[in-house]
């Protein structure tokens, strides 16, 4: 069941992005930025946590989950550290993704030659 929900949810997010891309002048850069903000907004009152529980991996792969992880780490740290925890825990959960993206893109851009 989680597989089917994952398919539907991730497909729905991509469909939304495609509809915005086709029917407005926004570029993919605008849309990904917008979706990160939406993901952070949905986790303000734990809606995205509920979606992840119902959907599984399909909710963790779209860029909305990046915004969710940012705010989730910040709030988890603010539990123990108070107000400053919002700043301390911001990258707690997304550190893996950002670090991996930086390292892989740097190493691969050094190794491989650009095509054109």
């Amino acid at each position: 069941m989680l597989y089917f929900n994952s398919f539907l949810f991730c497909g729905f997010i991509c469909l939304m992005g495609q509809l915005i891309l086709d029917n407005s002048k926004l570029t993919p850069g605008h849309i990904t930025s917008l979706f990160v903000v939406i993901g952070a907004f949905l986790d303000t009152f734990s809606i995205y946590d509920f979606i992840i529980k119902k959907v599984g991996g399909g909710a963790l792969i779209p860029i909305t989950s990046f915004g969710h992880s940012l705010i989730h780490g910040a709030l988890a740290k603010s539990n123990s550290m108070g107000f400053m925890g919002l700043l301390m825990g911001m990258f707690d959960l997304t550190a893996t993704g950002i670090t991996a993206a930086i390292i892989f893109s740097f190493v691969f851009s050094l190794i491989f030659k650009p095509k054109n």
Binding site: Q18, G57, P62, I71
Partner: protein, 156 residues
């Protein structure tokens, strides 16, 4: 003078007509279905990878999620560097741009594009050219909404 501007506007009109013809032939409904199916397959694949990693390495679901994301970033980075991820993006569009693969694709492609300008001025300064806005607005939004949650709804 008059002739030149007249010719220009004729050219503009003809250009616009040709451009609108091409726009009409681009099928929006088909694009949407392609994005839905390809994005959905990626989502189901993500769920499968989480189950696979958590059973084979005997780790929690959260740790398996991190490894799943690293896997997708690795594949997207490698395919972008090899040069054929752009063709896949042209075909599947948002189906590949909205998942985390789009983030890795943006970083690797901007690093590759500016590689010839050197390590510091090329790769170093331009690697976050496209992905930087995602991080910036993500952090600002997360901080802003986190403040709201912290003061109104209490912490987690």
């Amino acid at each position: 003078m008059f002739h030149i501007s007249n010719g220009d506007s004729m050219k503009d009109l003809r250009y616009e007509r040709i451009a609108s013809n091409h726009k009409a032939s681009e099928n929006k409904g088909k694009n949407g279905i392609v994005a839905f199916v390809s994005g959905g397959i990626l989502g189901a694949l993500a769920e499968g990878l989480i189950n696979f990693y958590s059973s084979i390495f005997d780790i929690s679901r959260n740790d398996a999620t991190s490894i799943m994301i690293v896997t997708f970033i690795f594949i997207a980075s490698l395919f972008t560097a090899l040069g054929f991820f752009d063709k896949l993006v042209n075909r599947f569009k948002c189906g590949l741009l909205i998942p985390i693969t789009g983030f890795a694709h943006a970083m690797t492609s901007s690093a590759m594009d500016y590689k010839k300008e050197g390590l510091v001025y090329g790769i170093g300064m331009n690697i976050f050219k496209l992905a930087g806005s995602v991080i910036l607005y993500g952090v600002v939004a997360a901080w802003f909404f986190g403040m709201i949650r912290y003061f109104i709804g209490g912490a987690l």
